[in-house]
Symmetry: C2
Subunit: 331 residues, 2 copies
């Protein structure tokens, strides 16, 4: 039995419920303020460090799950049935393999993203998180957030953080089987917080996160210092959230994103996601800030920039970024 199946078996021990007719679930996308870059276990998506994200409320993935009437999985994305050999269907099918009660149990999965993937938000986090919730609903397991986050992690690392709204911390854990590598919601709500998506490029990135972080762990000398950096940034970010100190939150998030991109650039061969437009957007943020606007940015493993600001400054932000798509993570 593979390590991932063992994890599933452990979590579902004594819970083998009956498959309901069907189940629906939703999970939000999330954007990390302290980033996840590098795994200690590839199969279980166990991270080297903890990370902390903000969930994106209405931007996420809806999933409907049922037992398929046919002798094969039927995978739908945004209203279209996918070919069995499409990469999405393959990845979803491999994940569903972990949960089939019998070998001939097949799923009908209908996923619909409200997260605009063209805006540079990843949909795999919300996708696997909503799928874990839908499985829980379909089989009536009634799992905890902690357990669901572990199951979601088996699909995609960042999905671990997409089971709850608000600020979510993913604990790295140390156990070989990853049972202590799960997510927790922070208590603080911050209704004024805003995330803005600045879309610079909707093309697929040349190096995927999975391959990129593996290369960093294996070849980047700076990687040894990354866990220490993350530990400091996590402590600072949690203090900023507890105090609702927005400049501190922005400073930590922006610095941590730049440090992650620095890790990538110092990898062999180098991984550079920035486009000329990325640097232009960064510099616009800095110019706005010098101008007195409390505006910071973060960036994931791609060229797009996400703005961080408070509701009171939305008008000011739109002067610098007229096309920004604004999300209110706390509704």
């Amino acid at each position: 039995m593979t390590p991932a199946r063992q994890v599933v078996r452990r979590i579902l021990a004594g819970r083998a419920g009956q498959a309901q007719t069907g189940a629906a679930a939703y999970a939000p996308a999330n954007i990390a303020l302290v980033k996840y870059w590098g795994k200690r276990n590839e199969e279980l998506n166990l991270p080297v460090t903890g990370s902390l994200s903000i969930s994106l409320g209405p931007l996420g993935s809806h999933v409907e799950l049922a037992r398929a009437p046919e002798p094969a999985d039927a995978i739908w994305l945004n209203g279209r049935r996918l070919a069995a050999d499409s990469s999405f269907a393959q990845r979803a099918g491999a994940y569903l393999d972990l949960f089939r009660p019998e070998a001939d149990f097949h799923f009908e999965l209908k996923a619909r993203n409200t997260v605009p993937t063209a805006a540079g938000f990843a949909s795999s986090a919300s996708g696997f998180a909503s799928l874990a919730k839908a499985l829980d609903g379909l089989f009536g397991w009634n799992l905890s957030l902690r357990e669901l986050s572990i199951l979601a992690r088996l699909g995609s690392g960042s999905a671990t953080r997409s089971l709850a709204d608000g600020f979510v911390e993913w604990h790295a854990g140390t156990a070989a089987d990853g049972m202590d590598s799960f997510a927790e919601r922070l208590e603080t709500d911050w209704p004024a917080l805003r995330v803005g998506a600045v879309v610079l490029c909707a093309e697929e990135k040349p190096v995927g996160s999975r391959a990129g972080m593996k290369r960093s762990v294996e070849t980047c000398e700076f990687y040894r210092a990354w866990p220490g950096r993350v530990a400091q940034d996590l402590a600072d970010l949690k203090a900023a959230i507890a105090r609702k100190d927005f400049p501190m939150l922005g400073t930590v998030a922006e610095g941590n994103a730049l440090a992650m991109h620095a890790l990538m650039a110092a990898t062999r061969p180098p991984i550079v996601y920035a486009l000329p437009e990325t640097v232009a957007a960064m510099r616009t943020v800095w110019a706005a800030r010098e101008n007195g606007l409390p505006l910071w940015f973060t960036m994931d493993a791609g060229p797009n920039v996400k703005l961080l600001f408070e509701a009171k400054d939305e008008t000011g932000v739109r002067e610098f970024f007229p096309g920004v798509e604004v999300v209110a993570p706390f509704g």
Copy 2:
């Protein structure tokens, strides 16, 4: 006595010659292929790591030095007499203080740069190296390259590498007084090597190298891993030079430059020299390389990009960078 004066006294012990009427000297600028970023001693400009550069032949600084007829230093730069309170005159005067035979000995210094500072080549390296040579000529000390490189270092770290043509290695050394932190010329000549300057921005940089590297040493977690990175890159670069393996030279130089800029970006607060045009130029280099052109780049602590290629590819390089200024380091 300050540590710098002690170093000067030690080197000049038993050599106190007579001032000649005047002396002239020239030193080339240099561009590091494995970078110098971070000091272990601020006053003596002692580096944390070694570095390795290529001297830029005809691009450099000419200096004429004589005893001044007036009771004050007279400092000229590119044909114009500088005000005593200009930053150049102040820095030159402070350096000359180390060498005055008597308190009322004043210098007439005429510096002329053939290195186009607007092309993003630093002139402080060639400036202090030529000044050290001119002092040697004026006082008739007859110092070795090694001794001259130590004296030049007291003016500017990178000046250590500007005393010789060709490939020059600056040994970091470990001694507190820096007597083992000097430069040596590598034996290999590589006449086909070319350096191209792509000028993107001639403005002064927002954070100077001196302040920037200090901040990195003090605040950047990744800095602890920088010496290991440099040691590996130095070994690889010397192997590439010995074998005249140009793709290897290019790969090491480009990767090391990106790693230095990564260090800067992970500094608190972050130091980012790149402009949108910098990323555009980097991506043009990568596109050219994917197109089969053996072209790499390096970048110093600024936004400008320097191209590395071989003579046979100059026409090809000019197709991608029509405005490039090409230097033949080996004449």
